[in-house]
Each structure stands twice: as C-alpha cells, then as structure tokens.
Amino acid sequence: MKASGFPYVIPMLLLSVAFFATPLAVLVGFSFIGSEGATLANYIRFFGDAFNFRVLVNTARLGLETVVGTTLLGVPIALLYWHSGKTTRQVIIFLTLIPMLTSNVVRTFAWIVILGRQGPISETLMALGVTGSPTSLMFTELGLVMAMCQIDLPLIILPLIAILSRTPVQFSEAAQVSGAGPWRIFVTVLLPLMLPGLLAGWILVFASTSSSFVTQAVIGGARNVYVPQLIYREVGTLFDWPMASAIAVVLLLSTGCLLVAMTMISRHRRLVGHA
C-alpha cells in the first residue's frame, strides 16, 4: 500500500522537470554563451558596469527597506490580533486577505492615486501648510517603499497570525503572573514566539519586492531602475538574451542565498527550540 502513491505523482513530476527544471537549466546555460563558445563574459560585463552594479545594490536595498517597513507595520497588527477576541481576530484576517487577493496592478494603481500630485498625501500636506505647492511622491524611492510595504504586508502578517493563533494565551498570562509588565512580555515572550513567522515573512517579502516588476516600473519610474526592469530591457529592447539570462541568474542566486540562509537560521535549535 505504501508505494502505490507514486504513479499519481508522475504527471506533475514530469511537468516540473520538463517545463520548470529544464528551462531553468537552459537559462543558466544560456548565461554563459558568448560570441565564441562558453564564457563568463556576460557576468564580467554585468558586474563591470557601474550602472548595473548600482541597480543590483538598489534592488537589495529596496528589498531590505521593505522588510524593515513591513516588520514595523506587521508586528503591531500581530499584537492587535493577539490581544483581540474571536470576532476581531476574524476581522483582522479578513482585512489582511482583501489586499492580498486583490490584483497587484490594482494595488499599484491605488498607490498612484495616493502618491500623486492630486492625491491625499499631497492635499494633506498642503492643508497643513507643510508644503505650498502640490508634491508628488511618485518616482521616488520613498513612495515606492511606502507602496511595497502595503502590498507585501499580508505576506508577513499571515505567518505571524498562523503562529499566534495556535499559541495558548497562558504563555503571556504566566509571564504576567510572574510580574512581567506588558513590554517585557512583548520582548521576552511574544517576540521570540513570532521569530519563525518573521523569518518566513522576511523571505517572502524580500523575494516579492525584489521581483515586483509592475510596481517598481510604475511607481519607481524611469530614474529608479531595479533588476527586473533590467532583465526586461535586455530581452525586449536590446534582444540580448544571454545577458538577460546572466542577470536573471544573479537575481536568482542572490534571492536564493538569502532564502537558504534564512531557512537555516529558522531551523536553528536555539531559535525555534522553545517555540
């Protein structure tokens, strides 16, 4: 009875190997293609160009800034969830799922409205007298990070909520009875509990931000270029597929290394041992 499951898995396994693993292998191979045979020229050219290198650094920075932003916004929401009753908890889950299931392009569009010259931010700043003329946060990194934080926030909230919903309330009650104040409970009990969820969320947020083509292109604008646009430009405008492949491999490796590092940290005994 034990091995009888394998035939069912074969179709999807074949699909994965033929249409997923193979293309990726080809992509990696393609990135080494030069004018005469196998070469590292594409990589050397990529890292040798100061502009490209800056794009890579900008992409990593955007990812990190969004990770920090989503953490600062997500942890209070998780705490709110923790201290709420059943109904409020369900409302929080529902409100988290709405943006998550709403199209990315729609969310990006919403941010165009918010960040624009005639948007609520600009109007508020004018009404408060902070700025005399309409200000736009479009095409700025600040605006992009604000948008990315909202767009990716569910990715960090959901793992946190998943952990907190199966944590008994007694955990913090015990600390309270022992005389710990609320801040102490937060730092010494709740935060360590949340840590595996935070790590999972950070991976998702970083991966999503660094490859969010539409939002980056529309809100970042032409002056703030990130790796995905660079890849698309090599393919669509310059038709340099080997170069595009090399950049894709760099993106893949940098996200992949981070992923592996985070996974290893989250499996570390001392971090998850007491959770």
């Binding site: 034990k2 499951g5 394998f6 069912y8 999807m12 396994l13 699909l15 994965s16 190997v17 249409f19 997923f20 293309p23 990726l24 916004l73 929401i77 705490l79 709110l80 201290h83 009753g85 929080i92 529902f94 409100l95 799922l97 709405i98 943006p99 299931l101 709403t102 199209s103 392009v105 729609v106 990006t108 919403a110 941010w111 165009i112 409205v113 918010i114 005639q118 609520p120 109007e123 909202q150 926030l153 309270q176 005389g179 104040g181 609320p182 801040w183 937060f186 490859s211 083509f213 539409v214 995905p228 890849i231 698309y232 393919v235 597929w241 595009a244 492949s245 894709a248 893949l252 996200t255």
Partner: protein, 278 residues
Amino acid sequence: MRDTDKSQIGENPIPAFLYKAFVFGFGGLCVIYLVAPIFIALTMSFTSGQSLKYPPEGFSLRWYEALLDPVRSATEHVAAWNSLKIAGLAVLGSLLFAVPATIGMSRMRRGTVGAIEPLLLAPLVLPSLVYGLAALIVANFVGFQPSLWLTVTGHIVVFGPLMYRAASVVAQGLNPSLAEASTVMGATWFTTLRRVILPLLMPGILAGAFLVFIQSLDNVSVSLFLADAQTTVLPLRMFALIEESLDVRVAAISGILIGLTLIVMLVARRVLAPPKQA
C-alpha cells in the same frame, strides 16, 4: 485575563498605558494602512472627474460606462476575455496535475515526499519573471512562438503548486483508514476516489482553484514573455493604460476586480467554513 490592564500592586501604569496605545492605537493605524489603498481605488472608480484627483470632486458611473462601451473599450474587453480564458485553463490544468499528485503524495513514505516535494513547490519561490524568461528561451529553441497556449502552460507550471499546497494541507489532515475502509468494503479504487477521497479533499481543491484563478488573472511577469501581441491580458493592458496615459478607466477596472474579489471571498467563506460544531 487576556487584557493587560490587570495592573498588579506596584506596577507602573504609564508603560502599561503606552503598550495599550501601541497595540490598539498604532496597530489599528497599521490595519488602516493595509486596507485604505483598496478603499481609495474603489472610491476613485466612481469619480466624475477627468483626473486621478483624490478625494474625487463628484461621483458618477461614467468610467464604468466608458469601460462597458464595446467600441471605446474593445481592447480591454479582449484582454479581459483572454485573462479569463487563461485563468480558467490554468485552474483546469492544475486540477489535472496537482490533485493526483496530492493524492499520490499522501500515500507515500515521509522520506520520499520530503525528497520530491521541494521540486514541486519550487515555482512558488522562484521570481516568476525569471521563469518567464527561461520558458521563452526554451520555447524559442523548440520553435514555439508566444501564444495563448504557451501562456497557459506557463501559468500551470507556476501556479499549479498553489493547488498542490492547498490540497495537500487538507490531505495531511485526512485519516488514511477512511480510504482503506472503503477498499476493504469492496469499493473499486475509482469509487473510493470519487466517493471518499475527492469529497474529503474538496475544501482544499476549491481553495486551490480560487488561488490559482486569482494569481493567474493577476500575473504580469509570465504573460509578459509568453503571450503574443494578439493575446493581451488584462493586467498587462492595465499596465499599459497606467504607463501611457493614466486613463481613469483603470479605476473602473480596479473597481470591478475589487468587487469580484470581495464577492468571491464572501462565497468562499460560506463554502469553505468548517461546520460550526466541529
């Protein structure tokens, strides 16, 4: 006992108050930050103005009318229809591939599952833009031109794992003796599949279908590389409308998509909600 305000003797009330303010005040603001953009996009779609001024000066349905106009919005209609076709076929494809895989995996040894599963789930982690490029290169090698069918294939590969994951979460919770009991009672494997396994997996399959459909409808980075010029999909069309002219019809499309998401979510809550007494 859940509240933190059960201050004990000697406890300083100021940090306790600050904590409450942090959780309920700042936490509440964070929730607003999370949903306000959706609300803003929705109200924007009812503007009577020509521009994306917010708050809108007046309300009207003019942008919805413009969007429904078959002449003026012909391209958008084609794009929407293409997107629906692709998403529907992607759901069908992921049913065909991922559901059997889920059933198979639930019958295999833990070690084997652990060895195969990462390969099946890998597309979820990989930036789909990278996958789109890889698929385009290979398709070009084999001599396939970008097309609707190529896009559908790409979507099945990238989003099928969502179906697998949603269904396997349910499968892991199932009691294997239910299927065994059915077999012992003399049911053929097909009867067992149809009458026992599939009904039990249904909540996971529905959740998976919902996720695949939504993700496929929204995907830009795979369609960007794999769709041909005739197969404009809705998110790419919206992207173009936003980049070119900030056409307010985008607000109306957004409004419709938000409305659809809400409806489907409410339906899903009804259908997928576990029985009250459970």
